[in-house]
Amino acid sequence: MQIIPAIDVLDGNTVRLKQGDFAQTTIYSQSPLALAHNYEVAGAQRLHLVNLSGAKEGQVTAEFLGLIQRISAGTALRIQTGGGLRSLKDIQATLDAGAEKIVVGTLLFSKPDLVRSALTLFGPRRFIAALDVKGREVRTHGWREGSGCDIDAACRLAQEMGIREILVTDVALDGMEGGPNVELYRGLRMRFPELMITASGGVRDSHDVEALAQVPCDAVVIGKALLNGSVMLKELLEAYPQGSEWQGIIPTGNGLAIRIIPCLDIDEGRVKKGTSFQNLRDAGDPVELAKRYCEEGADELVFLDITATAERRDAVFDLAARVADAVNIPFTVGGGIRSVEDARRLLEAGADKVSINSAAVNDPTLLSRMAEELGRANTVCAIDAKKVGDRWNVLVRGGREDTGIDALEWAEEAVRRGAGELLVTSFDRDGTGEGFDVELLAHVKKRVRVPVIASGGAGTLSSFVDAVNSGNADAVLAASVFHFGTFSIKQVKQALREASYPVRL
């Protein structure tokens, strides 16, 4: 358990308030800076610095920032501080003055959006949620006002915001002689095992500290008991080794989510989808549909210009630009791309990746040149495969021509030449709803070290799970089931999550 000495600062002086009441202020003779020095000499690693003037006036003054700077420059103490912070600039200035962590209390309730922005910009590790509890209710504004929020709800709110460290004070006991509310901490420890819990307030002696260590609390903030000499900091620090700090549950390996990709087959600017690339049915305007999928949680979009003819080539560049304006997720455009120049134009129009299919089979150097000039990450090779006996053949020209080329060998060559991703479609399954060809996918995955998108055959929710589970697919693509509302993207993601795969929900 970390032992964190506290210094409360009012008008530049070291003080203690009784139960947060400014009328009951005790001023101590040692300055905050001198006291910080003493605490460091005693072996403290951290310091809890409370800006009472700031809390009272609702601002962070240059004087207080100067104090942080002097303590930070003059000692090795890691400072956590709060009080009076009202804006992102206050928070930034406090961090830049040398504070390691910002303690936010009232702000959590009065300006949650500001706290969210601060967490986003400065990182969650830099923040501690200070929750002052009376009974079960969290108090704000120097304990004077109720937040209307129960302590558990407040913990969940903090967690949901990304905060992992809470500092909990029982305001009825702080500065009194009743001892810390050990039961409160024990309950929180049980209900919120993933939060780092710092106890604050009410510590009278080393027995109280031991009771908190038994909870176990991760840290304890001690103020008055140090000032009046009822506990000795040096002894406490020796009794509780100040080891490395709890850093939260750090995930290991690879955090990539399985991507769910609606595919929009485009013909003359409209979305189409048929069975085995025939019998096309109209399913709407591509940009409107793209926006809808984006809002529904699609991770990526693929646009395939399936009947691109020379005269209509330019429509796809315009489409890419309009989609790029409308969505906040990446998207790939494929179909009819024959040159690096076409690909470059698509990327410039706003596409994130360009997929090539027949043109790559006809001239594999196109993949090499695209990867060289535009980057592997932007280069996708689409492979349409058909099962023939115990192997798969590569089809081109929208499935109309069997090249006789072995699909697995082609997959390997495509990656060797520079494809950063493969979009593998089973021609046999496409549009049938019978499930993905997991055998084909698993074989491709064994041969290459790039992400593979499974395509062709999406039918039931479990077929998506199979593509990932048995096919080892990194992403799953589907069209009809989404266009015609068989199920939603969210349902697919929930099915994957239930099967323990990471998804962005």
């Binding site: 992102l88 600039k89 930034q92 830049d96 390691e100 969210r116 922005s117 601060a118 967490l119 986003t120 910009l121 400065f122 990182g123 969650p124 590790r125 830099r126 990304g162 939260g248 750090i250 995930p251 290991t252 390996g253 690879n254 955090g255 990539l256 989510a257 991507r259 984006c294 991770d299 790029a324 304006d325 409308a326 906040n328 997720i329 990446p330 410039e348 706003g350 994130d352 980057g375 592997r376 990450a377 950063g420 991703e421 070290r449 790039v450 992400p451 990194d474 992403a475 990471p502 962005r504």
Partner: protein, 191 residues
């Protein structure tokens, strides 16, 4: 003050993918303009520094455009994206490139045992998913400058800050709500 809408500059140079950033800001109703000169940079409330491509040619172009010192001395909120974040560091392994030296640390190629580039939606330490596309990653000397991380073979630095200089390894313009939130927060700081 609360209603003041800041003007965000997007720095255009050889490695900048200004289009997608500009589109994202437009979608979020944030005023922006493309800037290419020190005068243009001086006129905006905050600067976004996109990046795509190779470190070496990007630095050469900044040098040619005499923007190196302008960037180093930039006093207002500054946000480097992807390669734009990497260029804030001292040195990049990519092409053995000396970078801007604003954030102490280096940029190294991703570990051998992972697929490169790191592409896709990865979980940030903040709890959100973000869209990544990169082959190199940053290592600030001071871990406190790391604002967020992600796991990809090893723990990678996904966001960084030193004073007014912010950086993201991922693409906020392509990261759905998480990206929108970051851009809006950054703009809030530019007010």
């Amino acid at each position: 003050m609360a209603n003041y809408s800041p003007l965000i500059g997007i720095l255009r140079y050889s490695a900048g993918n200004t289009g997608s950033v500009q589109r994202a800001l437009m979608r979020l109703h944030i005023s922006s303009c493309i800037v290419e000169t020190s005068e243009g940079i001086a006129a905006v409330d905050g600067l976004i520094f996109p990046g795509a491509g190779a470190a070496q040619s990007a630095m050469n172009d900044l040098r040619k455009k005499k923007l190196i010192d302008v960037i180093k001395d930039y006093p207002r909120p500054f946000l480097g994206l992807c390669l734009g974040m990497q260029l804030l560091f001292d040195h990049s392994e990519e092409g053995d490139t000396e970078c801007l030296g604003i954030i102490p640390g280096n940029v190294s190629i991703l570990p051998d045992d992972v697929i490169k580039p790191h592409m896709g939606w990865n979980l940030l330490s903040t709890g959100s998913y973000a869209y990544f596309v990169h082959g190199y990653s940053c290592m600030p000397h001071d871990p406190l400058m790391t604002t967020m991380t992600a796991q990809y073979g090893t723990e990678i630095c996904a966001g960084v800050r030193k004073k007014n200089f912010f950086g993201l390894q991922w693409h906020p313009e392509k990261s759905g709500q998480a990206g929108d939130n970051y851009l809006l927060s950054f703009v809030e700081l530019c007010k």
